[in-house]
Symmetry: C2
């Protein structure tokens, strides 16, 4: 059993989630900032108390993390961790012997459900069908019925093949849809074939569904540019539930304006939200949700449970879930 | 090998579907009506040529079927078969030794995809989210994220547990949602527990998703009346992808008007389409597609392939698929 530890949280937990966290720490000390943040996407201001903590859960400034002498483990309360994902930070964190985990498990399942909701809404033409009141038996009705494409026999490529993709692939198993993935470094234990970057043009050219779950980093910014969109099969559906910055928004607009893409389903854009006069808002086949794919009822509680599970493992010397370094 | 058989089709197949049918009959005679029908839901007028056929594929009038002296097998080109589903017709058909099959296999998969599209669109609040352009990090954004309910841990009851339900249950397997079914006569080989009619009030009262796939017949008309809706758990989502007549439309309106139902997702209504001033069209949480759940690209070809598969089995003396009697 470890001595009484100091756990700093700037995650903005409140109400029952905060109660759950406090009880779950089981006598270890919880330190809260004077001014909390309310969004899992926001970065907290540096707090002197943070520098005393052995464990941090939240979104502390990278420089605060590196300035902390006692810190042993940081659990980030998001799936993405762009602000920490620089060679400088990661090298410094490694040399300090820091353990860093994220909360991707909390967002995998809802993000995958959001992604599949998009895919099925596209396959069943829900936006069109829900506003259609045509008469069964008419030619227009037959035309609409004929627009639906069953997922069986179609192809999907998932870019940014990680934890969300693994969830999505499990959900797609009953549909007989052919799925391949692409990621920076293949591990070899993925549930679908992982293609190389050199194979991407051919794969994009034969996929009916292009699912972008890329994280935001120096290598992915503007990954979907004019050249990539031109490689996509005409009429295919493009999805983005990763980060808006991975897509050149002008190139996406052009791919929709030219009719090259069949549809776009976006949970993320750049910027967020889009300004009122943004051209993406004008396309009938561009469907946008406001960066809510990871959201779910009791999200704060789920984040706390995920942290407390890792906290037990940390105390017991067990491997942590969602470990980054 | 059977002698050359006469196959009458009033299914309105045209173009490549008709070519496929003709080629697939492999020398057996295809007889077409003088005036075809264009909808799989329409009933054809009686044709003298029909009375000469040993096999019929389509939607012939029940009295024509019974008047035919040579008929051995009728394949209905829909999943539903209301107009044939009377004791009088079935008894007469049995005493003539008729084999009757339907085309439920052609519609199971697209109907189940449509149903799951509804369920996920509801879980991810797509109608609301797709028109929302709120700013990440704001209280409104947190409120929206908190509305989403992950399917895991929720409960669904499927009424009219048949081939579509079996497909849907397979699709729901990755979600850890608890599913039970109800049907007129349990077979014992269903993939989920089948509850009795006496258990329905309790099951409806604990289900977050009430999936109605009931067919239309004397026993199901108005099945969902005021009493049944009152049994449903407050806030639950109600789906109808069966037939509109199984729901008392006034009772459904009242269940929505009172706020008792969380949402309704309907592919079928009574009548179809609803008149412009129908109260169901006024609810923001009532989502209607125009009886298109079974539709899919190349629907006619799929119907022909399904018929030809059974035609081969018929010639070979093998059991037919989707046999009714």
């Amino acid at each position: 059993m470890e001595a009484r530890m100091k756990v700093f949280s700037d995650a903005g937990f409140a109400g029952s989630a905060l109660d759950t966290l406090r009880q779950g720490l089981d006598g270890h000390e919880l330190i809260l900032p004077k001014v909390g943040t309310t969004s899992v996407l926001e970065q907290a201001a540096t707090e002197p108390a943070l520098l005393e903590a052995e464990i941090i859960v939240g979104q502390p400034a990278p420089e605060s993390v590196l300035a902390s002498a006692k810190l042993r483990w940081l659990q980030i309360t998001t799936a993405g961790y762009t602000r920490y994902d620089t060679p400088e930070f990661m090298d410094a964190a490694r040399s300090k012997g820091l353990v860093i985990t994220n909360s991707s498990h909390v967002y995998d399942q809802p993000c995958a459900e959001h992604a599949l909701a998009f895919v099925l809404a596209q396959a069943r033409e829900l936006p069109l069908s829900l506003r259609s009141r045509i008469n069964p038996g008419t030619p227009e009705w037959h035309e609409l019925r004929g627009r639906y494409r069953m997922l069986g026999g179609q192809k999907m490529v998932i870019l940014g093949y990680g934890a969300i993709a693994e969830c999505l692939v499990e959900m797609l198993a009953p549909f007989d849809i052919e799925v391949v993935g692409w990621r920076r470094k293949a591990r070899g234990d993925e549930k679908v074939p992982i293609v190389s970057e050199a194979e991407l043009p051919v794969v994009l050219g034969s996929s009916d569904h292009v699912m972008n779950i890329l994280p935001d980093n120096a290598a992915t910014q503007g990954f979907f540019n004019s050249e990539r969109f031109a490689q996509i099969k005409p009429g295919a559906a493009f999805y983005n539930i990763g980060r808006g910055t991975t897509v050149d928004q002008d190139a996406l607009v052009e791919a929709l304006r030219s009719g090259h893409l069949g549809a776009a389903w976006l949970d993320v854009t750049d910027p967020e939200p889009l300004p009122e006069d943004h051209p993406l808002l004008a396309f009938e086949n561009c469907h946008i949700t406001p960066h809510t794919a990871g959201g779910h009822l009791n999200e704060s509680e789920t984040l706390v449970w995920h942290f407390l599970g890792n906290f037990r493992r940390f105390l017991d010397g067990q491997p942590l879930k969602n470990r980054i370094i």
